[in-house]
């Protein structure tokens, strides 16, 4: 698995927009990072051994002020054993509203490089509504793909929600298509989950890149 740092920079290289983030080692740095970001923050413990962060209680959301941030940071650091490999604490601004989707890419044993898109957050496992798109494809094909996806009504704005700006989503799909085509020898799969699409654009909140098994 690529480190968070490597994964984030690879995704940024291919035009996948990430929520602002800072990776720090301890509680003091987490407080400083939270102050620099401003407003409520999310705190996550990044460890290659724990990929299901929510399930493991390694995510704290909506933290406001130095006291809350410090307390959460210390708790997260204590939540995994001392000998557990950890990359650091991820500090991000809270992103509210919008539609959570799942973006991914993989090298399929039969069809080769593919981009994946479907319901995001914890629902990716429950709904199984993930569709795939085979690169190379341009913005037009990506837009047509989004148009034909079961998520389309959610993105169009339901129950008073404003229609999402799918431009950023389409760009991210195109970027992932290029990424998995060009890097299929050193990337086995990419998970961007959740990727939040709102009327103000789109941001990746969590990511993970697997390398091929040698």
């Amino acid at each position: 698995m690529l480190s968070y740092l490597e994964s984030a920079s690879l995704l940024e290289d291919y035009g996948v927009p990430l929520a602002p983030w800072k990776l720090v080692g301890g509680a003091d740095e987490a407080v400083a990072a939270a102050e620099a970001i401003g407003g409520a923050v999310a705190l996550k413990l990044i460890s290659p051994e724990h990929t299901h962060k929510s399930d493991m209680g390694l995510v704290r959301l909506g933290l406001e002020g130095a006291i809350e941030v410090r307390e959460a940071a210390l708790a997260l650091l204590a939540a995994v054993p001392e000998n557990c490999e950890r990359e650091g604490l991820l500090v991000q601004p809270m992103v509210t509203g919008g539609c959570e989707v799942f973006l991914g890419a993989l090298v399929d044993p039969q069809f080769g490089p593919l981009v994946a898109f479907g319901p995001g957050g914890i629902f990716v496992e429950l709904l199984g509504g993930v569709d795939f798109l085979r690169p190379p494809f341009g913005r037009g094909s990506a837009a047509l793909f989004v148009e034909r996806n079961a998520l389309r009504p959610l993105l169009s704005g339901v129950r008073g929600r404003r229609p999402a700006d799918t431009t950023a989503l389409v760009d991210a799909l195109v970027g992932l298509g290029r990424l998995i085509l060009e890097r299929q020898n050193d990337v086995a799969s990419v998970d961007v989950n959740p990727f939040v699409v709102s009327d103000r654009g789109a941001l990746a909140l969590d990511l993970r890149i697997e390398e091929p098994r040698r």
Binding site: G104, Q110, E125, G128, L133
Partner: protein
């Protein structure tokens, strides 16, 4: 897999063919030879144990033939297949169809024998083993067992099942689908279904492609063939077995695990516009309409019924299928009033009820002519609910066929109440023989029609999205 291109033309259109293992006994050795005897190819028989077969002299081996064959059909027992292929290679034969069975489908020993064929397939094109051969209807090369006469046309079909290929040939023919090539790939030691699909895409006379698939080895080649077919404007109608056999459980958020094999297959079909249907009846219906409609317009449909009940039911089904009937224009309505096509008191709707009297016998030509003549009607759907076996319905069938021929406008017939009479031929069969698509229910007809409409719409959107050029093809 390399692109076989022209080499496959040699396989399916041989000038000289040799049947190795030709015999007067055994279903395949005898019936395939008889098919080849009436095919448009120069035929030789090889069988060291016989003097002659069905009156043709037998040669002891391929090496002894007076001419080099383009194609070998092999029906010898499995242990002799590799030897026969080696002889073919030595004699310069470029393609072979191995009908013989008992290979990978039959245990370890068979798998070893098949491996040998796989090695030899580097030096000769191999279709099979354990396949039912092929039929090149267009060029009259019948290297399989066909039970019915064929109608020539634009549909090519590839099947991983030999039995289904032969059986569906009968169904295709009965439904009036014009055929070009039918190929069964068997155990795919050499050529694979993907290669045959790619060949159909390249074949200029193939206008519609159908396939029965079980599994793929080269998904990339399959996907490229679908994409090229979409760009070329040739619909691909697929049935695939094994679709519920999900290889991976959705056990983690990891993408590779989320990618159930089936979901990926469906996505690839969707992306490149292939029409994936659940069963062979839908494949037949959808292929039939693609083949018969070609690129004729179909947006504006006139539904004409002889039964009010069938008419209203069809209206519902059409709306649900996304083919909502449009109202006729005042101009057409005035014409219908003038011609007294409907009584004064009857409103003119679509579906329009013309009742039994005017929808029977030669008279149907005059009553439906306004719709065939009208520029606002692209496609006529005729709806009947009655027995097709009365002698007057023979005239109905003839009138419908001549209307289609006279106006060049496509016609689809829904005939509820079809059954074969004790003697004679029902009107529905006559229409099918005349190339009119006939369905036993409106649902079957309109589901197939909506698939044609959806494919056309998706193709237009896809070409638009991709800039309408071939430049995007990898």
């Amino acid at each position: 897999m390399t692109d076989h291109g022209a080499a496959l033309d040699g396989l399916f259109s041989p000038r000289v063919t040799v049947h190795i293992g030709a015999s007067e006994s055994g279903v395949y050795p005898a019936q395939i030879f008889q098919g080849l005897m009436i095919s448009d190819t120069e035929l030789y028989a090889v069988n060291p144990n016989r003097e002659s077969v069905f009156g043709l002299p037998c040669y002891a081996s391929v090496a002894k033939l007076p001419r080099r064959a383009d194609l070998a059909i092999i029906t010898v027992p499995r242990q002799f297949v590799a030897g026969a292929l080696s002889e073919c290679i030595a004699a310069g034969v470029r393609a072979a169809v191995v009908i013989s069975s008992g290979f990978a489908e039959a245990g370890a020993e068979g798998a070893t024998l098949q491996h040998k064929i796989e090695e030899l397939s580097r030096d000769i094109l191999v279709l099979g083993p354990n396949c039912a051969g092929f039929a090149n209807i267009a060029d009259n090369i019948i290297a399989t067992r066909l039970a019915a006469p064929s109608k020539r046309g634009g549909l090519s079909f590839v099947s991983q099942s030999g039995a289904l290929m032969m059986a569906l040939h009968g169904s295709f023919s009965e439904r009036g689908i014009g055929l070009r090539q039918l190929v069964s790939v068997g155990n795919q030691a050499g050529l694979r279904a993907e290669d045959i699909l790619a060949h159909f895409v390249q074949d200029p006379e193939t206008r519609v492609i159908s396939a029965f698939l079980e599994g793929l080895r080269d998904g990339g080649r399959f996907a490229r063939a679908l994409q090229e077919s979409l760009v070329a404007g040739k619909p691909v109608v697929l049935v695939k077995s094994g679709r519920t056999d999900v290889g991976q459980r959705l056990a983690s958020t990891h993408t590779a695990a989320v990618a159930g094999e089936e979901r990926v297959f469906e996505s690839v079909c969707r992306q490149y516009g292939a029409v994936l249907v659940d069963d062979v009846d839908e494949m037949l219906s959808t292929s039939l309409l693609f083949e018969r409609l070609g690129s004729l317009p179909m947006e504006r449909i006139a539904y004409i019924t002889q039964s009010g009940g069938l008419g209203s039911l069809t209206g519902d089904i059409a709306k649900l299928a996304g083919l909502e009937p449009r109202a006729f224009s005042p101009k057409l309505e005035a014409r219908l009033r003038r011609d007294k096509t409907v009584p004064d008191y009857q409103p003119i709707l679509n579906p329009i009820d013309l009742r039994g009297d005017s929808m029977r016998g030669a008279g149907i030509a005059a009553t439906t002519a306004p719709f065939f003549e009208s520029e606002e009607v692209d496609l006529v759907v005729l709806l009947f609910a009655k027995s097709p076996n009365r002698s007057v319905e023979k005239e109905t069938a003839e009138a419908v066929i001549s209307l289609r021929d006279r106006f060049g406008k496509p016609v689809i017939v829904v005939w509820v109440g079809q059954f074969e009479p004790a003697e004679g031929v029902p009107a529905t069969r006559l229409m099918q023989r005349g190339g009119i698509p006939v369905f036993e229910s409106s649902g079957a007809a309109l589901r197939a029609l909506s698939r044609v409409a959806a494919w056309r719409a998706y193709r237009a959107a896809y070409l638009d999205a991709e800039g309408g050029s071939n430049a995007l093809l990898p």
